[in-house]
Point group: C2
Chain length 308, copies 2
DNA sequence: AGAAGACATAGGCACAGCTTATGCACTCCC
DNA sequence: GGGAGTGCATAAGCTGTGCCTATGTCTTCT
């Protein structure tokens, strides 16, 4: 029943050593790497030594002219870079949450956009102008529309099919909903994928009423053949809790495909198609009609449209 | 000229608080989350409080029956999960490097596979059998072939087009090479993509002779029209250093597309096509001919073939 | 041969974070 | 409505990690 990977080993809880490793790869010496992190050379030296002890292999080739990475060092650095980048996304998101209402760009975003797309956009935005301060507010699509209409937000991102009047909209990405079950679930080993009727008749692990994802599923079933969805098997508040319940064998769920990519890769969840049911929706940027976007909000839209 | 994002803020260097947040989302109480991490409830409480202070927003809704996440908490948890997953890949890789020569499966992998594909496979492998111990050795494709032929490795992964005799091979993924330049580079704003002849005549930032990527590019140009590549502009040892040099405006480079996806998304690098040149190569699993794979090595191949 | 650059070692200090013990508030149930 | 139980906060004290400054050693370039 435990879905979560057990706690991270001590050696990867603190990313400082890995950041140093990356800096060494880039700058060519431990001393310079230390400097770029505002710490003394012995401190960096000690952390890197500790890192090598953790890995049990030499990661650095210390020469009189500087330090380079060994093959193993390259490998660890590459893995570390992915981690540091993820942490960087996290930091960008947090910074945006933190700068409540005092930012130069005030963004309102629905959960799916805020979770999976926005951090990268924020980083790209900062790259284009480091001075930009972003304030992020997350809510459901209706709340986002309200914020933008009220002028509380400069630009919004919604996941609902309809766009409130008074707003201009532009699709910036598509989102795919995925039906997932535990590998042990009967559906996972069945020959044929379930039909829409079967899905509608099945109780799912789902989020509370009002969630965009749940609403999109209900709408898709209704439009398909006027199907009403069964009562949820279990209503939980977080995506994490849904995944835990599904993995634990409670029952199937429908989630954004982006939310389950890791679990699918790891094989802890199995994704199923649903016959003849379109589970795709569009994610849109919205802004007040008649007032063209300008400044950082326009830049943000451009970045979002550029895709990734 | 600095390509690297500045150091991570203090608040995201240590992932413990975020792991706790995820555990709270999954388990529903701070106390249980604390337990799952082998720490006392007050310690977890303090860390979570610190996290909320860092974000500047309430992340938790503490009720008498337990604790749930707020909307902001959900958001942070989602970002945190991506980070923790990346750290988990890192940990899996390190564990494999660490278990030198005593593992149940001995894997030899070329850099591209080891960097970008193997960690997920290792996690999936551990999910299918938690007892499996993996020993990883990384080298270039020739070294991998030698290890497998010598019986030093049970299974290998290579990126070279030819497969040594005596080995069975099976493609597990494709790798695409990407020509990248800095946004400020003339090619980035040019109308037409460069032609193969132009690329061959241009000095690139590249890795040392012997690198699989460099070799693949030289081969592609030679096969295209018998073109010989120009002398490198700069030879550096690490992918990180190449990216730094390109971003710094030194010149163009050709790298695995997987290596630059983040930079492309952030707009710090620009990818260009090359007219009429196929820069695709296949990544293959190899094992001794005549002796079918068995045990964990076979499981690993199945996971790799399943893709992601 | 001398000088400079780069990393290692040593000693000492400061602070962050954990544990145990206890207190407080809200629910649930009889 | 009152009592019990669950869950989180607070308090106090201690341990250990990690940093800095100062200095040593080795290599390489001139």
């Amino acid at each position: 029943m435990p879905m979560s990977s057990r706690p991270l080993p001590r050696s990867v809880r603190d990313l400082t050593g890995y950041e140093l490793l990356l800096s060494v790869a880039e700058l060519g010496s431990i001393g310079q790497a230390a400097g770029s992190h505002g710490m003394s050379q012995p401190a960096a030296s000690a952390r890197l030594r500790q890192l090598e002890a953790d890995v049990g292999t030499a990661l650095l080739e210390r020469r009189a002219r500087g330090t380079r990475l060994t093959t193993a060092g390259e490998l660890v650095a590459s893995w570390a870079q992915a981690t540091v980048e993820a942490a960087s996304d996290l930091a960008a998101g947090i910074a945006a949450l933190r700068a409540d209402r005092h930012g130069h760009v005030r963004i309102a975003a629905s959960l799916t956009v805020a979770e999976y797309l926005l951090p990268r956009w924020l980083i790209a935005l900062r790259a284009s102008d480091p001075e930009t301060v972003v304030a992020l507010d997350s809510g459901n699509s209706a709340e986002v529309a309200t914020s933008v209409l009220a002028g509380t937000a400069d630009i919004g991102f919604v996941e609902s099919p309809e766009v409130a009047s008074g707003l201009s909209a532009r699709e910036v990405a598509r989102d795919e909903l995925a039906l997932v079950v535990a590998p042990s679930h009967p559906w996972a080993s069945r020959r044929r994928e379930p039909r829409a009727e079967e899905l509608a008749a099945t109780s799912l692990v789902s989020r509370e009423r009002g969630s965009g994802t749940r609403w999109a599923l209900e709408r898709a079933l209704r439009e398909h053949a006027g199907l009403e969805t069964a009562e949820p098997l279990l209503e939980v508040s977080s995506t994490t809790a849904i995944k835990a319940a599904v993995t634990g064998g409670i029952g199937p769920a429908v989630l954004s495909a982006r939310a389950v990519s890791t679990e699918l890769a790891a094989g802890t969840l199995v994704r199923l198609g649903v016959t003849e049911l379109d589970l795709t929706r569009s994610l849109r940027a919205v802004w007040p009609e008649g007032t063209p976007l300008r400044g950082p909000a326009r830049d943000l839209l451009a970045i979002a449209l550029r895709g990734e």
